[in-house]
Symmetry: C2
């Protein structure tokens, strides 16, 4: 069972896919790699309560809850209150995990994190917040490392297969995954184009976040002075956001359905569907030839959210 | 990404798991291996319409529909009419695949298959029914081959890791998968115990089906006279059926929830949950020590069926 394989042609490009969605714990995905790094860091620091934050359909929250439970570590999950008609599977899975759950408005995240950090200490714990401080800063280097490491797998595949990828496409939200791939590519002196397709943020905000992640990683993680790319050199395409996080339209939903039935490939409309749509358009626009890698960053429960919503509508 | 790895200890046994649920097409599973063999056979025979049959929550029907679509082959899916409150995801996925769909009562399967074979010919096709004739006989050798081949992967794992499995546990329905593993084990002269946990059938019926499958495989597939085990030598435990196909109780549902939150492992109550429950009990009863393999035979959409039913109840 190879995790990377040829999927299809799009015009003159051969699309290979790396199935990080099939990593074998809690429905896998890039968040599994990232949360695994955070747990290692937590243990190094001698902390004993994991605190996570994300939307109600957050894959990060779900993986964090399962990993905490499987390791016997206390866990608090902070959810940004959602507006969906039905509870996302990720929220249900977190509820079933036995994690402590807190809901907050999007504007109250900092206060909610601070309150939980204080509460954890009062409870006799040493809390660890995945993003660092209550502003969500300070832990970039640790999280970015996940896809610096994953990049080695891509290089291994290239070495074994003799295939060289000119472009790597992926869904980009907070930019942590993209930052890791870019940092690794720079550290190796590769000239691959790491192409982030935004799932929510504007190009400027996305680029800035990636610059910050990469700066932290190089400074704190690698202690090197490798130059972080200028914003204009960062590929972060926000034309496929479809109105915002979690939003979708007919074109996007149809693409996801086509990939399921035509290629047996589950894509969700929140993350991987947008990335695939962006890739398809950009390959056509830029007449990209040769071998291209798409990283399937997971989000399987969201695929079933969408199917359920069709079913119940 | 290894598809086989150490999962947990149960008493003195070390449980390894083979994640066939993560095979990278249409949510994988043993049915993916089986349907792949059937499509090869169909092409060898020059047929051009694939006909499948199963329950509304059938993984076989879903994989068949996706594989046909992905190869541009006409496909008819015959569903045994279900009684569930909500449409199973597998049925929805088949509907979305564009396959022709026919419903029949459980007592009318033969008539439905015959009618579809005739209709296909009228439409100018050369139909291929996955199970052979309208009694569901004749194609056992082809289907059984799938897990004769998969058994080689288990041997490869053993050779690489130095681990030797005394027992292999799996969910057993029609017995095709178990028959393949048993045939391979016999052909290799291995003394592994292949332990089928019934998901529906009585012990006698299950054992007889496995004997028939294995006889066909040895006779038609291998042209050898290898002796098929007596019924009493076939491990097919029907004590964990929980009342029948698709039935579940508190103990079973609770085990599935525990494995999800404690080990990040999705099990469904129709197939893999029953097999895991059976394995756990039998390891305790028989004081099994050493290394044991559990084959996760897939059925991911069913995991989300159960979660939805909890959510909507």
């Amino acid at each position: 069972m190879e995790d990377t394989y040829f999927l299809m042609k799009i015009k003159d490009a051969s699309i290979y896919i790396k199935r990080d969605d099939l990593l074998p714990f809690s429905f896998g995905g890039n968040k599994l790699r990232i949360v695994t790094k955070a747990f290692e860091d937590m243990e190094r620091r001698g902390c004993d309560e994991f605190i996570s934050y994300g939307s109600e359909s957050s894959n990060l929250n779900r993986v964090a809850a399962h990993m905490a439970r499987s390791r016997g570590v206390a866990c608090t999950v902070i959810f940004k209150k959602g507006r969906g008609a039905h509870e996302p599977y990720n929220e249900l899975l977190v509820k079933e995990s036995g994690a402590r759950i807190v809901y907050c408005e999007g504007s109250e995240v900092r206060a909610a994190v601070e309150e939980e950090l204080r509460r954890s200490v009062r409870d006799g714990h040493r809390p660890y917040y995945i993003y660092g401080d209550s502003n969500g800063r300070g832990n970039e280097a640790c999280l970015v490392e996940a896809y610096v490491e994953a990049y080695e797998e891509i290089r291994d595949f290239e070495a074994k297969s003799g295939i060289s990828f000119s472009h790597i496409f992926l869904a980009s939200g907070t930019g942590i995954t993209q930052s890791g791939l870019m940092a690794a590519s720079i550290l190796h002196g590769d000239d691959k184009k790491i192409c982030g397709i935004s799932v929510a943020r504007s190009r400027d905000r996305g680029r800035e976040a990636i610059r910050e992640n990469m700066s932290s990683y190089m400074r704190d993680g690698r202690k090197t002075e490798v130059k972080v790319p200028a914003a204009s050199e960062i590929f972060f395409d926000d034309r496929f956001v479809k109105g915002g996080y979690g939003c979708a339209d007919q074109e996007l939903s149809e693409l996801c359905r086509q990939m399921m039935k035509g290629y047996g490939l589950p894509l969700d409309t929140t993350y991987t569907g947008k990335a695939f749509l962006g890739m398809r358009n950009i390959i056509e626009e830029e007449h990209i030839k040769g071998s291209v890698l798409f990283i399937h960053t997971g989000g399987l429960p969201g695929v079933f959210d969408a199917a359920r919503d069709i079913m119940l509508s």
